[in-house]
Amino acid sequence: MANITCTDIVKAYGAHPVIEGLQLDIPDHEFVVFLGPSGCGKSTMLRMIAGLEEVTGGRIAIGGTDVTDLPPGERGVAMVFQSYALYPHMSVRDNITFGLRRQGASRAEIEPRLTQVAELLGLEKFLDRRPRNLSGGQQQRVAMARAMIKTPQVFLFDEPLSNLDAKLREKLRTEIRKIHMQLKTTTIFVTHDQLEAMTIADRIVLMRDGKIEQMGSPDEIFERPASRFVADFIGTPAMNFVHAEIVAGDRLTAHGGGMTLHLSPQAFTTLKPGQRVELGLRPARMDLCEPGAENALSGKVVLVENMGAEGQVITEVAGQEISFVTQAFRSLSPGDSVCFAISPDHIHAFDPETGDSLRQE
C-alpha cells in the first residue's frame, strides 16, 4: 500500500497538450475517483500512473519511489480494464494466477491465495471455464481477481463498470467499495458517471480539459462546487442556472429572471449591489411551499417526471425553465400553478465571466 504523488505532469501528443502541469497527491488507503466528461484526460492520467502511457514531463512517485521511468510491471500497480482484457486462451484459473506463476511463485503459495480471491469475488465455480463462457459481470470479477491476487500497492480501475447493465453496475460498485474497506489498498477509479463517483469515492478529482477543476470529498463537491462547471456536472437532475444582479437592501438579495432570492450573507461576503452573478439552484434542494414563504418562486408546471419515490417537476418561471424535485409530485399536472422555495443556504452564486464560485467560506 502506498501514497501516490504526481508532480507537474504534462502529456502532449505531438504539439497538442492533453494534460498541462497537473499536481496530485493521493494519501495511502484512499479511494480516489477521477471524474470528468470524455476527453478530459482522466484515462490518460490513469494510464500514465500505470505506465502504459509515457509522461511528456513531470514525475510520478508511488510509495515514495519515483516510478516515472519504470515499466508497468515494476510499479506495484494492478489495473482493471473497461473491456476486462482477459486472456481468451487461458482458463479463469490461469488468468488469475498468471502474474504469480510468472514471478515463479510455487503452487503451494498460489493455491491459498487463489482460493481467497475466488471466494471474495464468488468465482469458485468458474475457475476451469474459459472467459468467453462467462457473463460480463463474471468476466469483470475475474479481471478484479487477477488484479487482487498480486496484492499490489495500488489498484487502478479504468471505467470498469461501463460495459455492464445498470443493475449489475450498482451491485459491483457496492462490491468494489466493500472490498476496498476490507483491503484498504490505495485505489484510483476512473469514470464519467457522476453518480458512480459520488457513491464510491473517498475523494473525487474532477477534471476538465486536462486540468483539475476541483478536488474534494463527494460532499464538498456537491455542496460547495468550485465552479459552474462542477455544479453543472454533479447532481441529477442538473442544477438550474439563473442570471441575476445583486440589489441594494438590508438583506443580501439577487434579482433576475423575474425572481428575487435572498442569499446567505455568511457565504457570500464580497458581493456588492450592482454586481452581476449567475445563481445555481439545485432541484433537489427545492420543494413546494406556501405562497409568501421566503425565497418562494411561482411558476407554471410544464412537465412532471415520475422517478418513483419522488418526481422532477419542470416549471416555467417568468419565461425560464426551472426544475425542482418533490415527493408530492403526484398532485401536480401540467398547467398547474405552483409555489416552491429554496433556502438561502443552498443557493450557489458564480461569476458569470469566469464561472468561479463566489462563495467565501
Binding site: G51, P72, G73, F81, A85, Y87, H89, R102
Partner: protein, 271 residues
C-alpha cells in the same frame, strides 16, 4: 406442405452442389485405384478390383519420388522461414510502427503484383552467375519472396484484431514486449495466422512457372506432374490420378499437423 417442399428442394439443390463440387475429386481418387482398362471403358465402372499399381508406378519412378521430396523440402522451408520472418514483422507493423504500416504493407503486396514471368528470366541469369541455378536453396530463396510477403500481408490484420487491452494487461503483469508477443499476441491471433500459413503453403505448393524455369534436375512435383502426360504412348490416366492424389495429400497432412500444434500451443499457458 409448402414448407416441406421448399425444404426438400433446398436440400436437393445443396446435394447437387456438393456432388458437383466433390464429384471430380472423388472420381480422381477412384481413378487412382483403377487399372487403365477400368478407366477407359465407355460405361463408367463403380465396382472394380482396386489396385495400388498406379501408386507403385509413381513411387518407383525416381523422378516423381524426387519431385515429391523436393516439393516437401522446398515448400516447407519457404513457408517456415517465411513465417519466422514474416509473423514478428507483421506484429511490429501492427503494433509499433503503425505510422509506416500501411506503406510497408502496400510495398509488400506490390511484390505480388509482378508477373512471375517477368522475374523468372532475370532470376535465371542471376542464379547462373551465383551458381545456385537448379538448387533447392535457390528455389527456397525465390519462394521466400512469395511467402514472406503473403504472411506479412495476411498477419498484420490478424494482429490488429488482437485487443490492445490484452497486451497492456500482460504488460501490467510485468511481461516484456517479446513475452507479450510470444505468450499473448501469437496465441490469440493463432487461428487467423494459421489460415495465412495454409494459404501461403498452397500458393507455393502449386507454383509451376518459377520451378520450371529455375530448376531442371531438382524440379518440384508440379513440374514433374506436368511432364507425366508424356510418359508413354498412351495417356496413363491411372498414374496421373495417383500423382494428383499424392500432390494433394501433403497440404492436407500439413494442415492437420499445424492445426494440432496450434491447438496445444493455444491451450497451454505458462507452466
Amino acid at each position: 406442405m409448402g414448407k416441406l417442399i421448399s425444404a426438400t428442394l433446398t436440400r436437393a439443390v445443396l446435394a447437387l452442389l456438393i456432388v458437383l463440387a466433390l464429384g471430380p475429386i472423388l472420381w480422381t481418387v477412384l481413378g487412382a485405384f483403377k487399372e487403365l482398362r477400368d478407366i477407359v471403358t465407355p460405361v463408367p465402372k463403380l465396382v472394380f478390383t482396386p489396385t495400388l499399381d498406379n501408386f507403385a508406378t509413381i513411387l518407383r519412378n525416381p523422378t516423381i519420388r524426387d519431385g515429391l521430396l523436393h516439393s516437401v523440402i522446398v515448400v516447407s522451408a519457404a513457408v517456415l522461414i517465411g513465417a519466422v520472418l514474416g509473423i514478428p514483422a507483421a506484429h511490429t507493423l501492427a503494433r509499433h510502427a503503425r505510422k509506416w504500416g500501411d506503406d510497408v504493407q502496400f510495398f509488400v503486396l506490390s511484390l505480388r503484383f509482378m508477373p512471375p514471368v517477368a522475374i523468372a528470366i532475370p532470376f535465371i541469369v542471376i542464379y547462373l552467375d551465383l551458381g545456385i541455378y537448379d538448387t533447392l536453396f535457390g528455389l527456397v530463396l525465390v519462394y521466400l519472396i512469395v511467402t514472406v510477403s503473403t504472411v506479412i500481408w495476411l498477419a498484420v490484420p490478424a494482429f490488429e484484431r488482437v485487443p490492445r487491452d490484452i497486451e497492456e494487461a500482460a504488460a501490467m503483469e510485468g511481461c516484456g514486449p517479446a513475452e507479450i508477443f510470444w505468450r499473448f499476441s501469437l496465441p490469440v491471433a493463432a487461428p487467423s495466422l494459421f489460415g495465412a500459413l495454409v494459404f501461403t503453403f498452397v500458393l507455393v505448393w502449386n507454383e509451376l512457372l518459377l520451378a520450371l524455369t529455375l530448376a531442371a534436375q531438382n524440379a518440384t512435383l508440379p513440374v514433374v506432374a506436368a511432364s507425366i502426360t508424356s510418359l508413354g504412348k498412351e495417356v496413363p490416366w491411372g498414374v496421373i490420378n495417383a500423382a494428383t492424389v499424392l500432390l494433394v495429400l501433403p497440404p492436407l497432412v500439413f494442415i492437420g499437423l499445424l492445426m494440432g500444434l496450434l491447438n496445444t500451443m493455444v491451450r497451454s499457458g505458462p507452466k
